[in-house]
């Protein structure tokens, strides 16, 4: 490609609303343009990245035996009613009406449509296993779309759906997809981690996320550098940090702690480590039929720990959801305002659940249910009954891994997610096949998503510097750029540049020759911003000595290479990228 026949339009400034690097850089590099909140046009350079990601995903899906089809963007509501998600999905599901006032959705995902296809297409065990996928435009009506392609409303996703005879075979399909995903992210050239994850609104019994490691990631990944273990913090088991509870050493004492409604302030006032305090979190679970009063729960965490809301949602009694208690409910139950609550002497009985670590603490500090007062020297069994206990907290860096070693935490961007669905959708839609015995059996399913457009953003979050994007070679819009100096004035430069361009193309390199009549500084800045992995600079000065300059995007200075070795050196460098 010659730049004069292409559209390159870089911007000095990112839009004010662009909070993250990928949004800023993709906009400045002219890769995306906003059409509406969370809705973008992929400009030519951006689309090239998207297509390269799609290409790798498609190749590996095909290699893994998945079969591509294409389901529609606009899907009939009936199927979503059959699965129950028409009611469950919430406002992110964009519901629309056609001219005849019939209900449709813009697909955020396609479990319903593919299960409908499966129940019509799959008749016999002989057809199984089957894995269908498509790469299609998705829509999720995010309340507050932002971060560019990281959290857009319209986006491109690859979603695959496997159908199997039984759980063992479905597990094999799941494993095959897991391996395909590993290959995909390796080929994309990204630093990533496959982590055990929560199944969320998709459902199913097991799942893994593929997280691109980046400081700006919204997810926290817990991993053990010494082992294969990795899990999303939502799911990662937080161990009990106290092997055995020590015997009480202090008396239960009510202590004045004025203006200390937080553990940090209490610890400071009492001159104690934060790890000696216990924080009280009051939750409520409503009766789904709305007949009984909400049940009030007191969850106890060590002062330096944080509540894990996903784990909380899985506690017995929390099946229908939970919420934070209102101030009125707190006052009624504890007889005290928030900030000084605790499990001792509550105004009314309350269901107490202690985090595993809290359950092994002794002589600890907690609110006294009286404004401005805390208890010190609190001990289970002596001052209050033994609590129900559960893993309630987020892992923190340095927690021991029960399997040995120490846990660490990284930030990640979720770009892929594989789910073992079992019969969640196939049962709801009655998708069955005839087993060898001639009897109908319910299909076992898995589903497997990859955020194509999100990967582009994640790659940038992971790979950029002050000057711009540093694309991995596999997904760069152009792998190499030739920057000729004064091409419009120097025939020598023009000829050398054109020859090398032809040679690189013939060698299969996706190369750009920047033949725009612009100053070298501007041209260099453009390609540093756009992030071409390899730049070849050709000028009269170098050519006098038979030299061209070749520089990878991460190199600080160029290598001076004899003209006749430029092709080979460039190919060599590209191989290393």
């Amino acid at each position: 490609m010659h730049a004069s026949k292409y559209h390159i339009n870089t911007l000095k400034e990112a839009p004010a609303e662009a909070e993250v690097k990928s949004h800023q850089l993709m906009t400045r590099a002219g890769m995306i343009r906003k059409a509406a909140g969370g809705i973008y046009t992929y400009m030519p350079l951006g689309l090239k990245v998207l297509r390269k990601i799609e290409g790798i995903v498609r190749e590996e899906m095909n290699r893994a035996g998945a079969i591509e089809l294409l389901m529609p963007v606009v899907q009939p509501a009936e199927l979503w009613m059959e699965s129950g998600r028409w009611e469950q999905y919430g406002a992110e599901l964009l519901r629309i009406k056609d001219r005849h006032q019939r209900d449709f959705v813009l697909q955020p995902t396609s479990e319903e449509v593919i299960t409908d296809i499966a129940r019509n297409e799959i008749h016999s065990w002989r057809q199984l296993p089957l894995n269908f996928y498509h790469i299609q435009t998705k829509f999720r009506d995010e309340r507050r779309p932002r971060f560019g392609l990281m959290r857009g409303r319209e986006f491109t996703m690859k979603d695959a759906y496997s159908f199997d005879r039984d759980e063992a075979s479905a597990q094999a399909s799941y494993d095959a997809m897991f391996q395909a995903y590993m290959r995909i992210f390796e080929r994309l050239g990204l630093e990533f981690r496959a982590v055990a994850a929560d199944t969320g609104s998709i459902g199913g019994s097991r799942s893994h996320e593929f997280q691109v490691i980046a400081d700006t990631g919204e997810d926290l990944v817990v991993y053990n550098p010494a082992s294969q273990y990795a899990a999303n913090i939502e799911l990662a088991e937080a161990p009990c940090l106290i092997a055995e509870r020590a015997a009480p050493a202090q008396a239960l004492t009510k202590t004045a702690t004025p203006d200390a409604p937080k553990c940090e302030l209490v610890a400071e006032q009492l001159g104690l480590p934060l790890a000696r305090t216990v924080k009280s979190i009051v939750l409520a679970t409503d009766d789904p039929e709305g007949k009984q009063q909400a049940r009030i729960w007191l969850l106890l965490l060590r002062g330096d720990h944080e509540l894990n809301e996903v784990k909380t949602g899985k506690l017995p009694g929390f099946e229908n959801g939970y919420r934070f208690a209102t101030e009125a409910e707190i006052l009624e139950t504890f007889g005290c305002v928030p900030g000084y609550l605790g499990p001792v002497d509550t105004a009314k009985p309350v269901s107490v659940i202690a985090d595993l670590t809290v359950a092994h603490m002794s002589d600890f500090v907690c609110g006294a249910n009286e404004e401005g007062y805390h208890y010190t020297g609190v001990n289970w069994g002596r001052d209050l009954p033994e609590p129900a206990k559960a893993d309630l907290r987020n892992v923190v860096s340095g927690d021991p891994d029960p399997q040995g070693g120490v846990l660490a935490i990284q930030r990640g961007i979720e770009v892929g997610h594989v789910f073992f669905l079992g019969d969640k959708y196939s049962k709801a839609l009655n998708a069955t096949f005839l087993e060898t015995d001639g009897k109908p059996a319910v299909l076992q399913m898995g589903c497997y998503g990859i955020g194509i457009s999100r990967i582009a953003a994640a790659a940038i979050e992971q790979n950029h510097d002050d000057k711009g994007i540093i694309w991995p070679r596999a997904i760069a819009p152009f792998e190499a750029v030739i920057c000729p100096m004064n091409l419009h004035k120097s025939e020598t430069v023009r000829n050398v540049a054109e020859k090398l361009y032809q040679e690189l193309q013939a060698s299969g390199v996706d190369v750009m020759l920047d033949d725009r009549d612009i100053r070298p500084g501007i041209m260099f800045a453009d390609w540093e911003l756009i992030g071409a992995p390899l730049r070849i600079t050709i000028g009269d000065r170098g050519l006098k000595d038979g030299i061209v300059e070749i520089q990878t995007r991460r190199q600080a200075a160029a290598d001076k290479i004899p003209v006749e070795q430029a092709l080979e050196f460039s190919l060599q460098q590209l191989k290393s990228l």
Copy 2:
């Protein structure tokens, strides 16, 4: 690809609602499955066809210098309000609201979004000409979607948009696209015709449609077999069939024509040729401000001719649309019920427009504005004033071409359309650039659409037989299929089939090896239905004599070819397809 690892699911019966061959055959061949009215899933075989069409379109668009980008499916209403099409487009434009009750549309086409991009991206004449295109999901909320992919609601379209400095340059861009389209449809292997066409709701001053010739087409293409002339009947000029008006020979006579409210019946009763009668069509144009009464028009056509509604819409005075007059309006104006109307002795004055041929008729027959009566021997100038005249009718086969020769008519399916837009959208959205003199000038635009999914259907309408589809090689889901007989029992057959499969693949042929354990008759029927251009049958019986059978889809019987020549012969045959 091996069939056992693919998904092939043919059906004996087409759905009852499938009225046209392409809908029936694509469903029976397992290429599409209905998700909702006018909304389909492309099954693996169907998607392969779609992708091959896309591939050819993309290559030729790139070759013509167009640059690919990707505009969103969901587009903000604001832009459609700016262009005025939010009001004008009608119910086919699916309007949706997001969770914040903001208005959006599902794009049926992207003039607005691309013009918005152009006004932001194009600053200087130096950037011009530019041509952007995308291949994207479109939605048109047809009142009555039918005919499968021929008239679907969700479909895939390639739409390109050119931007130029002035009309001459814009015309060059238009011509380049015209030529690219010619190459595209040639490469697709379809019999087609580029025809001058009306611009319809897209607007602009000039346009051509690309029509795939097929008996089931909805469009009528007027062409001259002896010249390059071709036009959609909507636009094709219908000549005056009477060079000079003859002098009156008959007296004006009121004749009883009981129960003859149609020209055919009048001609029969009077024993005259239909071409001697004149039919009266009463139209009304409403005052756009609703202040004045509707104006009533009487359009006169020869009895054997048909009104052309597109030409009618372009008559002076019809700028704001027209409608057929109501019975009350007719009674009031003519003092007579429909069926016996004419231009002589109307109850009230009426604006008469005669078709060019009618204006040259003499001694003709028309209604007498009295139930059960017609006039014979009517003559312009003598019995009524000379009429305003215009081309009001559809061309009929056999009409003379004013440039020489005789016009013929074919049915066609519109699969492409190129428009010279001028400044229609750029002016509305104020898309300007700086000219050499530093002053802003309005961009000149063209737009160029190709219905990717519709081409698949049109190809079938043109190419099928009793057994199924006959794909042109370029867009067949598989170019060749190897049908081994009893592959599961015969190692010889298996080995020969696998070897040929590998060789064909290595030669770049998209080949399927049907290794399903099914009866030969079923296998053959499947591939005749699916429409593989070349079939290679390998069986023990033939192999005994060193023979395999090779048959193109159009051949009645197979060629018996020595095994060792099978590869070369197959490649040769494919070249001819």
